[in-house]
Amino acid sequence: MKRRDFLRKSAGAGLAAGAALSLGGYSKLWATAPSGAKYDMVAVMGGSPEAMFDLGIQELGGMGTFVKKGQRVLLKPNIGWDRPPEMGANTNPALVSRVIEHCLRAGAKEVYVFDHTCDNWVNCYRNSGIEKASKDAGAKVVPGNSENYYQEVEIPGGLKLKKAKVHELLFETDVFINIPVLKDHNSTRMTACMKNMMGVVWDRGFWHRNDLNQCIADYALFEKKPALNILDCYNVMVKHGPMGVSKEDIVQMKSQIISTDWVACDAAATKMLGVDIAKIEYIAHAHKMGLGNMNLDSLNIRRIKM
């Protein structure tokens, strides 16, 4: 049996099992917030990335709400750039490490970390500090640099993005957790949760050619949605994003936003970055497509200052 067939079949089997168990849609397994969660979003400010996460995840019922014993977990931090941690171009390695620990403590069988980087991937993995932090914390660091790792999927309902080649780990794992970093972005003006998904697909050029903002929103339709979005707002790159030129591009905001709703999370992020939400087109697109709620007023937000 070819590996691809095997994957397809096991994905199918998993789907059948999931459907049988939950009597709900397969996507619900991924997307819906656990019924126990009291808040739509938790925002923490004033501590170290690790301490803020410890507090924040507790407010959402602990990692056990999202990761069950024996599950395989995929973490998608932003490792896109060959820049050191203090430049804020990539997710804070200490945060990634702490999330891995929480997953393992919740009984995860295996935790995987990967990104399809923009710069040379070996340098990115190494110089971002994420490779070492993840391995030390007990995760498997997986490459995303070769087209071989990607499988083509349909995006039903996508306006511009109807197909995408997605990293195989999305199909091989049970829980998907998004750990982006908040940054200025040169053309979409902001990158946070939804835009981080450009690192799970192979052909980003297609997005750039075919209405970037719509493609970002379209991808959010894809069934393998993150169970949790942990937005790192510790060192925030407020200009020259998404790569940054120097430390002068950074404002230390010492914050973190955690939510199961990535549209809401991105909406809150615009406030942190001080940009007009009307200009971040993909948020409005995604809201309109029913992928989340961008109206922060209607959300139950828990705010914690440390």
């Binding site: 590996r3 925002a43 400010m45 060959d82 295996e110 923009c118 710069d119 040379n120 070996v122 340098n123 498997k140 660091v141 997986v142 490459p143 640099n145 070769s146 087209e147 071989n148 790792y149 972005h185 040169n186 053309s187 979409t188 003006r189 052909d203 980003r204 050029g205 297609f206 750039h208 050619r209 075919n210 209405d211 970037l212 903002n213 719509q214 407020v238 020259h240 998404p242 790569m243 030129v245 120097s246 002068e248 591009d249 950074i250 404002v251 230390q252 905001m253 010492k254 914050s255 909406a267 809150a268 406030k271 942190m272 001080g274 200009k279 087109e281 922060l296 937000i301 705010r303 200052k305």
Partner: protein, 520 residues
């Protein structure tokens, strides 16, 4: 000395050398520290000489050591240090294995006119015109190209197989590496030489080294006055002819009891094979005798190696990434007035004079941005590395190519200096840009720019469009690589004939302040 140990020492030493050189070129994980690479390369004759001409220091005087060594010991360089020579010995061994009874060697007359014409032509052309012939014939560079064009891809195929196999068990020690081949035409020279060297060594031992290789011929001339050589003890010799048959250089005339020192590469096989202890290696003396032998070609091997090579090329081509169909084709052709030379080249003119196209930088580049040139630099620059920004870019935090260059064609650059070296200047073609043609956001170029020489300014509506500042552009080509338009890019780097110093990027403090409280 007539100990059989001599041959054993030679085999051990050369095997270690060959393995080191092979590892050097297939080191796709960048595991070998630069200083060891430089130790290894320091004694390669032609690269060291070119390096010395460029920067005469004790560190670049490896070729002087080789000359002195030759004066003292004869052409030991060819057996102990030259990777192409050692590689040929390996081939000769295979050649011998395939038909054991077949006697390939035996004394033959040297191709005197041919070898000295080639040496003369190489020297004259290099002095008068350019190092074109040296690029073509330098044995180290020939070996380097074999490794880069054929050796490394084979290693990558193995790696990818391991990666695939381990992957099944959820182990990610090996990662899949896409094999990026070169343009088909650039394979011409390596393939021709592989067939030439491969056939000559399979069938005739060191015939290539003693006929075509200019370094071999030059060292042969010098070794005519070398102090140590292979000697006959006439009183012991029974003229059995075993030595002549064993001699890869076909340079032992056992009837006359003479060794042609200009062709002898000091492999010591003859000493090993002589049952009468009549041959020894020692201080010079004189005496003489005669005989010869001939043989046919081995079509099977040529056909085999030819097929292997063709197959390899096909494999390489097949692995190139297919680009998706774009909505609209770009219309304005990029107008590159000058190719982009790698960092450390200084000026293209100087670079072309020093590079022998050994391809080590091409093999070593972690981003595969260096590709062998066809006619970008003109005919004299064939096989020299040129930046190919359509398929990759020069990664910001890397100076690998400048560190490994054995000839100083690429001079060592400190990281800080490299990050301010302008290889070329950015050029923006607005009429190709997605933002103008499609009226949608893109910014792939500016996103990728490490110095923000490409930045975005307001355009129609909510759109932003690129603008460039060539003063701070370093010509890394990341914008050109990232630009998604086809077939022509909307942004490209035009090479600088002479590399310039770029202005440092602008670092103003951010105006924004951290929030006192949640802004939502």
């Amino acid at each position: 000395m007539r100990s059989p140990l001599l041959r054993k020492i030679r085999i051990l030493f050369s095997a270690v050398m060959l393995i080191c050189f092979i590892l050097l070129f297939i080191d796709f994980k960048d595991l070998i520290p630069t200083k060891y690479i430089n130790y290894l390369l320091a004694f390669q004759f032609v690269p060291s000489m070119l390096k010395y001409i460029d920067a005469p220091t004790i560190l670049s005087a490896g070729f002087v050591v080789v000359l002195l060594l030759t004066l003292l010991t004869g052409r030991t360089y060819c057996s102990f240090l030259c990777p192409l020579g050692i590689g040929q010995d390996l081939f000769s061994r295979f050649g011998g294995r395939i038909r054991k009874k077949f006697r390939r060697y035996g004394f033959k007359k040297p191709h005197t006119i041919l070898r000295y014409s080639l040496l003369g032509a190489t020297i004259v052309v290099s002095l008068v015109w350019g190092i074109y012939l040296l690029t073509l014939l330098d044995p180290y560079s020939v070996f380097g190209r074999f490794m880069t064009y054929f050796g490394k891809p084979v290693a990558l195929v193995l790696n990818n197989f391991l990666s695939w196999a381990f992957h099944k068990f959820d182990i990610y020690t090996f990662d899949h590496i896409t094999i990026s081949g070169f343009r088909l035409l650039t394979y011409t020279i390596p393939v021709v030489f592989f067939i030439l060297v491969g056939f000559m060594s399979l069938a005739k031992g060191r015939l290539y080294c003693n006929t075509i290789c200019p370094v071999g011929t030059l060292l042969g001339l010098i070794s005519k006055i070398s102090l140590f050589r292979i000697k006959f003890d006439e009183s012991k010799c029974t003229r059995c002819g075993r030595c002549a048959i064993r001699c890869k250089s076909s340079c032992i005339d056992f009837l006359q009891q003479k060794v042609d020192v200009s062709r002898c590469v000091d492999c010591f096989n003859c000493i090993d094979v002589c049952q009468d202890d009549a041959l020894s290696y020692g201080l010079v003396s004189f005496k003489k005798k005669k005989e010869a032998e001939a043989d046919s070609g081995k079509r099977k091997f040529i056909a085999g190696s030819l097929m292997m090579l063709l197959g390899l090329q096909q494999g390489l081509r097949a692995q190139e990434k297919g680009s998706p169909v774009p909505t609209k084709q770009s219309t304005v052709k990029e107008n590159k007035t000058c190719p982009v030379a790698p960092p450390g080249a200084g000026s293209i003119e100087d670079f072309n004079k020093n590079c022998t196209g050994c391809s080590l930088c091409i093999a070593a580049c972690p981003n595969n941005v260096l590709k062998p040139a066809l006619m970008q630099y003109g005919i004299a620059g064939m096989m020299q590395p040129v930046m190919d920004y359509h398929h990759s870019f020069c990664t910001f935090n890397c100076v690998k190519c400048t560190e490994v260059c054995p000839t100083y064609a690429l001079k060592p650059l400190k990281m800080e200096a490299k990050q301010l070296t302008q290889l070329g200047k950015v050029r923006f073609i607005k009429d190709n840009c997605i933002v103008k043609t499609e009226k949608t956001a893109c910014g792939a170029c500016s996103e990728a720019c490490p110095t923000k020489a490409v930045y975005m300014v307001p355009y129609e509506g909510n759109l932003l469009i690129p603008e460039t500042n060539e003063d701070i552009c370093i010509g890394c080509g990341h914008c050109e690589y990232a630009c998604p338009t086809v077939p022509y890019k909307a942004i490209f780097v035009d090479g600088n004939p002479v590399h310039l110093a770029a202005q440092p990027p602008l670092n103003e403090e951010a105006e924004m302040e951290a929030h006192e409280d949640f802004p939502f």
